[in-house]
């Protein structure tokens, strides 16, 4: 079955081509939706078969490279269209195709009645194809094709409602920030390729070959430069500090897009990339520290902003940025397996949360439309008490919220706790480890707080929507609720494959599964890891208990403020107006970027246009023409038309020439 791995990106490509070129003629929504969903679902089936086959193999044999066709062979540079199957890519394709299929199904219901229905499914399929290229690529070039492709599809899908200026602006912002990251990725790629080639005559961009040659890479130095550049790419793609501001704006796109691209798949590309090249990243302690610090900082920064937002999708967007920060924190302390584990559980519960919010927004929109009101359907201040009207949505949403808050028994607990434990215990960064853990713990507390704030404001309490339209609120159809139920179920049980050894109930299947991928990185890290004191089991139990307590504290605060005594939020913001204003306005980061980066760029553009292009370039071109005209204006009088003038000039010329030879 491994030979058929190329089918996995091929099915969505076919879906894109059919829906893209013929979608306009196929007016039937069911057909278009079916084509799109079946395409990605077929990829899911193939992925399942590949996973089952891989489980049957012994761990050393679980690496398979399939060359679809040889592509670029130019001198020393060799890049084939080839796919790499190993435990890591298996997990990724399962997540992408599985969650993708559910979201395609959901979109059939959610996007009903939209004018560009076929366009949506075409782009969604194109996105899935690019993402699958990214995770399956066996060399950096194929990965980069997917990398760029998902950025493009993100632009196309965020700007889906292109009639709205805000959507177009958000799409451009996302694409430009991604581009900055892509530049980093390319520079890193070039640096690595050039260094291995010129120093060891190993000219390759293939992951397997680089892994084999990784023992030749030095610790630090050029590896630090290359990995920092790669990490810049990851910050752009995965919305970390400083390149994260596009993600909240990306909520302009339809909710399925937010669920698929900006929660489960595209934004995880950066994490996957670090995992794929763990053996390179681990060789630079400096970069690992940068990754961990940036991850932790992003986690807490975004978490603070999320506490004050009123738009339901904005809160989820900042939550995504924050959880991605956790994943990078994990990668930065060398716990690559934990990072990927959180990637997987996050995909489940975050997709469920986004799809649930879509269900809520759909119901609100429908109700407000019926009552001819123009209130914001996404503003939580207009919601409340929806659990009676939308029980299934409420239940799945609640389950996913409990998961993200890190309550034991649900998937998020296992992955988040693993990250926090590794941040504390994995001795890569010495003293810094404690602060990383502390930041993560505080961010986890905030996470629990704002997520339950969201749940309480939306589903509990009295219904704040205009009473005229309250009766129109109803549960969403099955196409929407079935994916919610599946994802909710996964949000609960998805974590049990990664249960830590401490709890002893199940072996940690997940970690063992990914061991062969990351063990080389583990060997390298052992050479410079700080030799910490042997950490005992009781410490692990304490920290685990600590994270549970932290989560419960967050939930309790949210409960007090939004269910028991709903005047508390107002009193809080009145006591700290400046702080509230700063947090509500995202710490003014967009304004800061505008002032420091965007406006100078615009000024540079103006200067290059008015100052350089018009004055210098046009000046030179026009100047040359003017000089020629000047000369010709003088020389034309030579042609007087009078015979005697010509005769005189002939005589003069003869005299000059004779004179030259006579006096020479």
């Amino acid at each position: 079955m491994f030979d058929y791995v190329w089918l996995i990106p091929f099915f969505p490509l076919v879906g894109f081509l059919i829906n893209g070129f013929f979608g306009k003629k196929i007016k039937n929504e069911a057909v278009i939706g079916a084509i799109g969903t079946l395409a990605i679902f077929s990829s899911f089936i193939v992925s399942c078969m590949i996973l089952l086959e891989m489980i049957g193999l012994s761990p050393e044999k679980r690496v398979f490279e399939k060359v679809v066709f040889p592509w670029i062979h130019s001198g020393n540079f060799k890049a084939d269209m080839a796919f790499l199957l190993d435990p890591l890519s298996c997990i990724m394709i399962m997540v992408v195709t599985g969650v993708g299929s559910l979201i395609h199904l959901y979109s059939i219901g959610y996007m009903h009645g939209e004018e560009g229905f076929y366009r949506f499914f075409a782009y969604l399929n194109l996105f899935c194809m690019s993402m699958l290229l990214l995770v399956l690529g066996s060399n950096m070039l194929v990965m980069f094709i997917g990398w760029e492709g998902v950025g493009l599809c993100s632009y196309l899908l965020i700007g889906y409602y292109f009639h709205k200026k805000s959507a177009g602006d958000a799409a451009k912002k996302a694409f430009v920030m991604n581009r900055v990251g892509d530049f980093g990725f390319l520079v890193g790629l070039f640096t690595l390729y050039w260094w291995l080639g010129s120093n060891h005559n190993i000219w390759t961009i293939n992951f397997v070959e680089i892994k084999a040659a990784s023992h030749l890479l030095p610790y630090g130095g050029v590896v630090t430069v290359a990995t920092l550049c790669f990490f810049l790419g990851a910050t752009g793609k995965s919305a970390q500090l400083p390149l994260f501001t596009w993600l909240p704006d990306a909520m302009e796109g339809p909710t399925p897009v937010s669920a698929l691209i900006h929660a489960a798949t595209m934004v995880t590309a950066g994490v996957y990339m670090i995992g794929r090249m763990s053996f390179v990243f681990i060789k630079s302690p400096e970069t690992m520290m940068v990754i961990a610090v940036v991850g932790a900082a992003t986690a807490i920064f975004a978490a603070t902003i999320g506490t004050a937002q009123n738009d339901i999708k904005r809160v989820l967007a900042y939550s995504t940025v924050s959880q991605l920060g956790f994943m990078f924190l994990a990668m930065g302390v060398g716990a690559f397996g934990a990072g990927i584990f959180h990637l997987m559980t996050h995909a489940f519960f975050k997709a469920c949360l986004f799809l649930g919010s879509g269900s809520v927004i759909h119901a609100m929109h429908h109700a407000l439309h019926k009552g001819h009101l123009h209130d914001d359907a996404q503003d939580m201040r207009n919601m409340g008490g929806l659990r009676k009207a939308m029980p299934i949505t409420f239940l799945t949403f609640l389950v996913s919220t409990i998961a993200i808050a890190g309550i034991p028994g649900f998937s998020g607990f296992f992955s988040k706790d693993e990250i926090l434990w590794q941040a504390f215990a994995n001795p890569l960064h010495g003293n810094l480890n404690f602060y990383l853990w502390a930041t993560g713990a505080i961010a986890a507390c905030f996470t629990a707080f704002y997520m339950f704030r969201l749940v309480f404001m939306t589903f509990f309490g009295e219904c704040r929507i205009n009473s005229k339209v309250k009766e129109y609120l109803h549960e969403s159809p099955l196409v929407i609720t079935i994916p919610l139920m599946v994802l909710g179920f996964l949000a609960v049980v998805g974590g049990y494959i990664g249960m830590p050894k401490l709890l002893g109930m199940l072996p940690n299947y997940f970690e063992h599964w990914l061991d062969p991928v990351f063990e080389l990185a583990g060997e390298y890290s052992a050479t410079y890891a700080h030799k910490g004191a042997h950490l005992s089991h009781s410490l692990e139990w304490t920290l685990m208990g600590g994270s549970v307590v932290i989560a419960l504290v967050g939930i309790a605060i949210a409960f007090t403020m939004y269910v028991q005594n709903t005047t508390l939020p107002k009193r809080f913001t009145d006591t700290f107006p400046t702080l509230h204003r700063a947090v509500y306005n995202k710490w003014y980061i967009d304004e800061i970027y505008d002032y420091t980066i965007v406006n100078p760029c615009k000024a540079l553009g103006q200067f290059l246009w008015k100052g350089f292009d018009v004055l210098v370039v046009d000046g030179v071109v026009n100047g040359v023409a003017n000089v020629v005209m000047g000369f010709s204006g003088v020389f034309r009088y030579m042609q007087s038309g009078l015979l005697h003038n010509y005769a005189w000039s002939m005589a003069f010329g003869v005299v000059v020439m004779l004179g030259y030879y006579v006096f020479k």
């Binding site: 009088y637 042609q639 007087s640 038309g641 009078l642 015979l643 005697h644 005769a647 005589a651």
Partner: protein, 100 residues
């Protein structure tokens, strides 16, 4: 030849007179006559030097020059007739259409 210088000087004078005529006179026929004078001055030079050097090449060349002069006179006069048909004058200052 002991009076070679005399022949050459006369030839030079004739040539100069012809040049001045070409450069100064208005009438096209007069200009043609001056051109003939210049060609004949050159003929005189050729013959004098041929006699002086004892080589007949110069005199052979004179035949060429005379032939050319005759042909050129024929062509030039035909040109002038065509021009007169057009402009009713053979003043060379009136041939001035090809100018800036």
């Amino acid at each position: 030849m002991e009076n070679l210088n005399g022949y050459l000087i006369i030839s030079a004078i004739l040539f100069s007179i012809g040049t001045v005529g070409v450069l100064t006179r208005k009438n096209a026929i007069v200009i043609f006559m001056c051109v003939e004078m210049m060609l004949n001055a050159v003929n005189l030079t050729f013959v004098a030097l041929s006699r002086h050097l004892g080589n007949l090449d110069g005199q052979v060349f004179v035949f060429f020059v005379m032939t050319v002069a005759a042909a050129e006179a024929a062509v030039g006069l035909a040109l002038m007739i065509a021009f007169y048909n057009n402009k009713e004058s053979i003043d060379v200052d009136d041939i001035n259409l090809m100018k800036w």
